[in-house]
């Protein structure tokens, strides 16, 4: 099988009856079939077919359960007609139902600057700014240092102008593409030494994008890096540009589209969270149960042994940025664990593994157990497994789990995993750094819970303290992350961008709460978010969500106590809670009832519940509450 990145080698090849399956797509059950079809490698032909099928089903009014709708407007000075269906197809792979709105060709500035342009009329959720260097004012000025500096500044100003126009006219999140370098070495080797050459101008502009625009909440699709990864000589194709202003060689359309879809997916919390590792011939060479620990192929200086070390290094790198690791292997547990403890070259140790399932049960079942133990959904898991039969079995039994194809040569395992983009992120927060400690602590708590006879004394034994305060700028990224990826304990599943959250912080009719939890095993970080809107003497809970890591610890009771107290001090009479059911939030179906709210109204599936502030009796809670004072708005302004 091919390992060429352009063919997304981690995806299985599409079935021969792909067109037929798209054609016969039944609106009932369409969402899962679409996701299954999108899990294959889809070239331009397949992308077009599946995008048409999606449009047909969506026009028929069918609800696509589990897919998040995103309207994506593309602003570009090159042709995007061919990329559009590929982005739609790739979006399905990340649980997104993307509707692409293409701006008129080469009308970037008109579209961005006129408030009633097609762009803004379409009310996009996201705007992709896909600028080609050929449409930007960056003409080379070799050797003219000062002019070069001005050109780069002007290029940035132009992009910043576009972005501020977009932000002024709509609420969309902006994704900016970095600009690939070019094959244009007029001075040869001396090009990179000379200020003002085209490649120097482009790379300086890209650096400014990252330095200046990311802090402003712009997302970057790093197409420059993608082009460099596959080779700029391959990426750039004058034929495509000359023929139809297609900005790169058409065979990279699927790769490009997947890259864009990943960024959107990450912004909507679709990135996966846990890497599940098979053991034999995946993270070491050989079968530990048959060959013994001392015969495993895993060593520096050994050509195949280094390949497996590289897999472990990749897993560790993911671990240190907050991806949870688990083991799922057909093995005797004691022998498998012994390899982790005793093999001198092992980089992965038991302490890195949050859930360790080594037994003889089938993998699908073990993967379910892992998901349950970690409090994660199956769609958060990625299984790395060298065995094609096991991969196939898991894909059929648990289509939610991502299972990358792997080439025969273990030297390509690590790269294949990392290039597949399962763990795409748009930020790196303090909580990401600590996440693995938290999961490890969860496992300890689970053990303690087994020892405790009654739940109350168990909870008391945790020595929990929560800190509740308003949203702060420093926590904003984490708040946005929680808002966009919490699915289970989430009453309304309303998603807000960083820009939205910032506005909420300053809105006098809105009160925000963020909750941190500490216990004797460590700091759980920011785990719950609540947004209230004032309406007369009511406080309406616009958003209430909590991380699943801290379920069943009565945090929600403690939070409600604080919210009611705060409402009372502001002279409000009622708290109104809204429950909007989704495929994922059944967990909180009865929350308001449990919290002694009374049912107010039911419209369709949406329910509203009310709680009388004056008669509310605070819940007794097994934790300490520290209230941070609400911000002094007058002082803040």
């Amino acid at each position: 099988m091919t390992t060429e990145i352009a063919s997304l080698p981690w995806l299985p090849r599409p079935p021969a009856d792909f067109r037929q399956r798209c054609k016969e797509l039944d609106p009932r059950g369409a969402a899962s079939e679409l996701r299954r079809l999108s899990s294959f490698f889809l070239d331009e032909r397949h992308s077009h077919l599946i995008a048409s099928a999606l449009r047909r089903v969506s026009n028929s009014g069918a609800r696509l359960e589990g897919l998040t709708r995103v309207r994506l407007a593309i602003l570009s000075n090159s042709t995007t007609t061919f990329a559009a269906p590929a982005i739609v197809a790739a979006g399905l792979r990340y649980g997104l139902q993307i509707e692409v709105v293409e701006a008129e060709f080469s009308q970037v500035f008109q579209e961005a600057l006129y408030p009633d342009s097609q762009l803004y009329r379409s009310k996009p959720d996201m705007v992709l700014l896909a600028m080609d260097h050929r449409g930007l004012p960056i003409s080379p000025c070799p050797g003219e240092k000062e002019t070069a500096r001005q050109i780069v500044t002007r290029g940035l100003t132009e992009i910043e102008g576009l972005i501020s126009a977009i932000r002024g006219n709509c609420r969309a999140t902006v994704i900016l593409q970095s600009i690939p370098g070019v094959v244009w070495p007029t001075f040869g080797n001396f090009d990179s030494a000379l200020p003002g050459t085209l490649n120097r101008l482009i790379s300086e502009l890209n650096i400014l994008f990252v330095e200046r625009l990311i802090p402003q909440g712009i997302l970057i699709a790093d197409i420059a890096n993608l082009a460099a990864t596959v080779g700029i000589g391959e990426w750039s194709d004058p034929r495509s540009w000359n023929l139809a202003k297609i900005p790169f060689a058409t065979r990279f359309l699927p790769l490009y589209a997947d890259q864009v879809a990943r960024v959107i997916g990450a912004a909507y919390g679709k990135s996966r969270k846990c890497l599940v590792l098979d053991l034999d011939n995946t993270i070491w060479g050989g079968v530990v149960g048959d060959d013994g620990i001392d015969k495993l192929v895993l060593a520096n200086g050994h050509p195949t042994g280094e390949a497996y070390l590289e897999v472990q290094r990749a897993a560790l790198a993911l671990h240190s940025r907050g991806v949870v690791l688990a083991v799922c292997s057909k093995n005797e547990e004691s022998i498998a664990r012994a390899a982790f403890r005793e093999h001198p070259e092992m980089l992965l140790r038991e302490s890195h593994i949050a859930a360790f399932q080594a037994n003889w049960e089938d993998k699908a079942r073990n993967l379910r157990t892992i998901a349950e133990r970690l409090g994660l959904g199956l769609e958060a898991l990625v299984l790395l497994d060298d065995n094609a039969a096991e991969r196939d079995l898991v894909r059929h039994a648990l289509p939610e789990v991502a299972v990358p194809e792997l080439p025969d040569d273990p030297a390509m395992f690590a790269r294949t995993l990392l290039c597949a983009g399962y763990f795409e992120s748009i930020a790196f927060t303090e909580d990401d750094r600590k996440r693995n400690e938290q999961y490890a602590a969860n496992a300890l708590r689970a053990r303690l819970a087994e020892d405790s006879t009654d739940i109350e004394s168990y909870l008391r034994s945790l020595d929990m303290t929560i800190e509740i305060g308003s949203f702060t700028q420093i926590d904003r990224q984490r708040i946005v992350q929680l808002i966009n990826k919490t699915n289970q304990f989430n009453l309304t599943t309303r998603r807000y961008t960083e820009e939205d959250v910032k506005q909420l912080e300053y809105d006098p009719r809105v009160s925000t709460f963020q909750v941190r939890l500490r216990d004797r095993f460590g700091d759980n970080g920011l785990i719950s978010v609540l947004i209230c809107r004032t309406a007369g003497t009511d406080w309406i809970i616009d958003t209430w969500l909590m991380s699943c890591r801290v379920l069943k610890r009565r945090v929600e009771h403690a939070v409600l106590n604080v919210v009611v107290e705060e409402a009372r001090s502001r002279g409000l009479k009622r708290i109104v809670g809204v429950y909007i059911p989704t495929a994922r939030n059944g967990l909180v179906k009865n929350l308001f009832e449990e919290l002694r709210f009374g049912l107010l109204d039911r419209v369709g599936l949406e329910e509203s519940w009310a709680l009388d502030v004056s008669t509310f009796v605070p819940f007794a809670v097994p934790l300490e509450v520290k209230r941070q004072p609400p911000p002094d708005r007058a002082a803040a302004l």
């Binding site: 067109r19 331009e44 032909r45 077009h48 077919l49 061919f82 139809a244 297609i246 058409t250």
Partner: protein
């Protein structure tokens, strides 16, 4: 060999135009397929390049008169 190319082209055209009735024959031209415009023409050639692992120049693409000539071009390119 030749039939094999026609078979693959038939599949490509059916995918691109989402139409199972299309059959690639030597006489077939873009005018015979209603949806065959300049945009879908690019898509046809993107698919052909991927399927056969070959590349055409823009001049070659614009000079073609019918599917028969296209098949000849593919054959020549594959031999090279």
């Amino acid at each position: 060999m030749n039939e094999d190319i026609y078979g693959k082209l038939t599949e490509i055209l059916r995918d691109v135009f989402d139409d199972d009735s299309i059959v690639a024959t030597p006489q077939l031209t873009a005018n015979d397929v209603e949806a065959w415009d300049s945009v879908s023409n690019v898509r046809v050639f993107v698919a052909i390049e991927v399927e056969f692992g070959i590349r055409f120049s823009n001049a070659e693409i614009t000079q073609l008169q019918n599917v028969g000539e296209l098949v000849e071009l593919i054959e020549r390119r594959r031999v090279q």
